[in-house]
């Protein structure tokens, strides 16, 4: 599938190749590589933050009234909002003020509640992180072993069944599988709670998170399965695998130290894509299971045109995706020594 060639796929090779020239003088081709990736990530973040900021200016209606929300629009209140948000300055100056404040942890005030945006985000981020982590771990535990299994049984019934289930997982929106899970495990067989985040106790929270995490994991597993199967197949077809087997290395060892080791890199470079699925899935799962997390906050804020909160959540999500892509880029030389030497060996 074509979506398995994410943005990061080409970066290590192309950007590491020219490094032996001027960077050799510095003695650390890796440092130059890291610096380039970092600069690219910062540039990307700036572009995204500009787009996120422009949301406010592009939102329909008068800016000051949008920011006032339901409060009464007296001339004094409007003037106060205009000066607080530098609305009379040129666009780029406004952006600069907004960005500087955001970097200091001030993301403005929620139009709907009047509370600081950072507080609203802080209240809800914990639940979202628990959900995303749980879903991710479940997806890893299912996607990588089954993807490897499918690749090892290429073309046989096992492969076809696993692949078919993967496509269903990939095609099932998190809300559809979530509602199905609720129907089966909460309503039919009263095993687990259907909605909400629980009363605050750790065990109760865990019980409430089981179904949401499974629903989230289902959509991500399909993707991981595909990435893993393709990567393992490529390694199985590689010369070094055939040679290792010919040398008499035990198949178990070949699988662990040659095939899976080699497949790790393409799987890791798919992490950005996996996270994008995870983020989108979290929004859907929180809406389905009535979980008061960041995704729910985003959807509610979009409904109420609470632009500052929308901006904050969007910026947070974009930063998370960009950071994960950057970390993967920085880790690739550690995973794959060929990149360290510019692939010349």
């Amino acid at each position: 599938m074509t979506t398995t060639s994410p943005a990061t796929g080409q970066s290590p090779q192309t950007s590491a190749a020219p490094s032996p020239g001027p960077a050799r003088r510095a003695g650390h081709p890796l440092a130059a590589y890291a610096a380039r990736r970092l600069a690219a990530a910062v540039a990307l973040l700036l572009v995204v933050s500009l787009a996120v900021f422009a949301l406010l200016a592009l939102a329909p209606g008068d800016l000051a009234r949008t920011l006032l929300g339901t409060r009464s629009a007296t001339p004094q209140a409007l003037a106060a909002v205009r000066s607080a948000h530098h609305l009379d300055d040129p666009f780029l100056v406004q952006y600069w003020h907004w960005l500087a404040a955001a970097l200091h942890g001030d993301l403005g005030v929620s139009v709907r509640t009047g509370a600081p945006v950072t507080q609203a985000v802080g209240d809800r981020i914990g639940l979202t992180l628990q959900l995303a982590l749980g879903g991710f771990v479940l997806a890893l535990l299912a996607g990588i072993p089954f993807g490897t299994l499918a690749a090892l049984r290429r073309g046989r019934a096992t492969d076809r069944i696993v692949q078919g289930l993967g496509v269903i997982g990939l095609s099932a929106p998190a809300f559809a599988s979530g509602l199905l899970l609720v129907h089966l495990f909460a309503l039919r067989a009263d095993w687990l709670p259907a909605f909400g985040a629980g009363d605050g106790g750790t065990l109760d929270r865990l019980r409430h998170l089981v179904l949401p995490c499974v629903a989230l994991a289902l959509s991500v597993t399909g993707l991981l399965l595909k990435l893993t199967r393709a990567a393992v197949l490529r390694e199985l077809d590689a010369d070094h695998t055939a040679f290792a087997l010919a040398r008499g290395v035990p198949p178990r060892e070949v699988l662990l130290r040659h095939v899976l080791r080699g497949a790790l890199l393409p799987i890791a470079t798919g992490a950005g894509l996996v996270l994008a699925y995870l983020v989108a899935g979290t929004v859907m799962v929180e809406a389905t299971f009535a979980l008061p997390g960041l995704g729910r906050l985003l959807v509610d804020s979009v409904t109420y045109k609470d632009v500052p909160v929308v901006q904050a959540v969007a910026l947070l999500a974009a930063s998370a995706v960009i950071t994960v892509n950057l970390v993967v880029d920085l880790l690739t030389p550690l995973i794959d020594p060929r990149i360290r030497t510019g692939g010349t060996r």
Binding site: P6, V167, I168, S171, L179, L298, V302
Partner: protein, 297 residues
């Protein structure tokens, strides 16, 4: 959607002579049982999209006295809280489930193929520019961007379709670009250049037909993604207006009826999954078949 069969037919002029060996004689696999089932599912769904409104013109008729009810006489799958028939609403909702993804797949293919052809043939700065653009878009979660952009800026269903078409075009762009790069220096392109054909004619008349099968296979995958994304959006209450016949809408509006009539939510959920899976499998099979052809040629 007759795509999986299509690649076998056209291909002719570009590929000179197939080797007559065992590998060369390998045919494009037939749709098979699973492929046939998928094709049938897709055909039924498109028929429902075209005819649903004609067969059930009164799907929106309410029966407030009846309210929500389980499966029974007159309502094979029961009714929702306004007394509307679940089966009829779901059948009529097929249209909004399929029209948007079709537009997105076609729009994304048009935009992506244009950019990919241009970048691949032109090279240099055009290639770099398009490449960066594809990187940027692919690094963003498309569904989230659509929620934010359409939710804040408004525009409803048409805006969602437009945004999703733009956001899914980079996969087309990359695919077409690399295919163009592979074709760029083949003898037939150089011959066309030597004959002095215009760049537009070489691109659209000679290179594009050879890239088209892959682009169509990718359009199927995009279609399936768009179907899931659009129904997710309407589940969140963005895009399709309240009260419309739409699977995502049905899911969110009937979520509270799960105890009284499970079919009200399970039917649209199953329909979304079935439709997306069928199209996705077709796209996968088409891609596999094309890969196989490319390898065994």
């Amino acid at each position: 959607m007759t795509v999986p069969a299509e690649p076998a037919a056209d291909r002719g002029p570009a590929v000179p002579v197939r080797p007559a060996g065992a590998a060369g004689r390998r045919r494009l696999p037939r749709p098979g049982l699973l492929g046939g089932v998928c094709l049938a599912v897709v055909a039924v769904l498109f028929a429902a999209a075209a005819l649903g409104g004609l067969v059930f013109p009164h799907w929106a008729r309410q029966d407030l006295l009846l309210g929500v009810s389980g499966p029974g006489a007159g309502h094979p799958l029961g009714t929702d809280d306004l007394g509307r028939d679940i089966l009829q609403t779901a059948v009529v909702g097929t249209r909004s489930a399929l029209v948007g993804p079709t537009l997105i797949a076609v729009g994304s293919m048009a935009l992506g193929n244009l950019l990919g052809l241009w970048a691949g043939y032109r090279g240099g700065w055009a290639d770099a520019l398009v490449g960066r653009w594809a990187d940027l878009v692919l690094s963003l979660p498309a569904l989230l961007v659509t929620v934010v952009v359409v939710g804040v800026l408004g525009g409803g269903y048409p805006a969602a379709v437009l945004v999703l078409a733009v956001l899914s075009s980079p996969t087309d762009t990359r695919l077409v670009r690399s295919a163009v790069l592979a074709q760029r220096h083949l003898p037939y392109v150089e011959a066309a250049e030597a004959l002095g054909l215009s760049r537009r004619r070489i691109l659209f008349g000679h290179i594009w037909p050879n890239v088209l099968p892959q682009a169509l296979a990718n359009a199927l995958v995009n279609f399936s993604f768009a179907l899931v994304a659009l129904s997710s959006l309407s589940f969140l209450g963005i895009g399709v207006p309240p009260g419309a016949a739409d699977w995502g809408r049905m899911l969110s509006e009937n979520q509270t009826l799960m105890y009284d009539n499970p079919a009200a939510t399970l039917l649209p959920a199953l329909l979304v999954v079935t439709a997306a899976t069928a199209v996705n499998l077709l796209g996968d099979r088409a891609q596999d078949a094309l890969d196989l052809r490319a390898r065994t040629r």
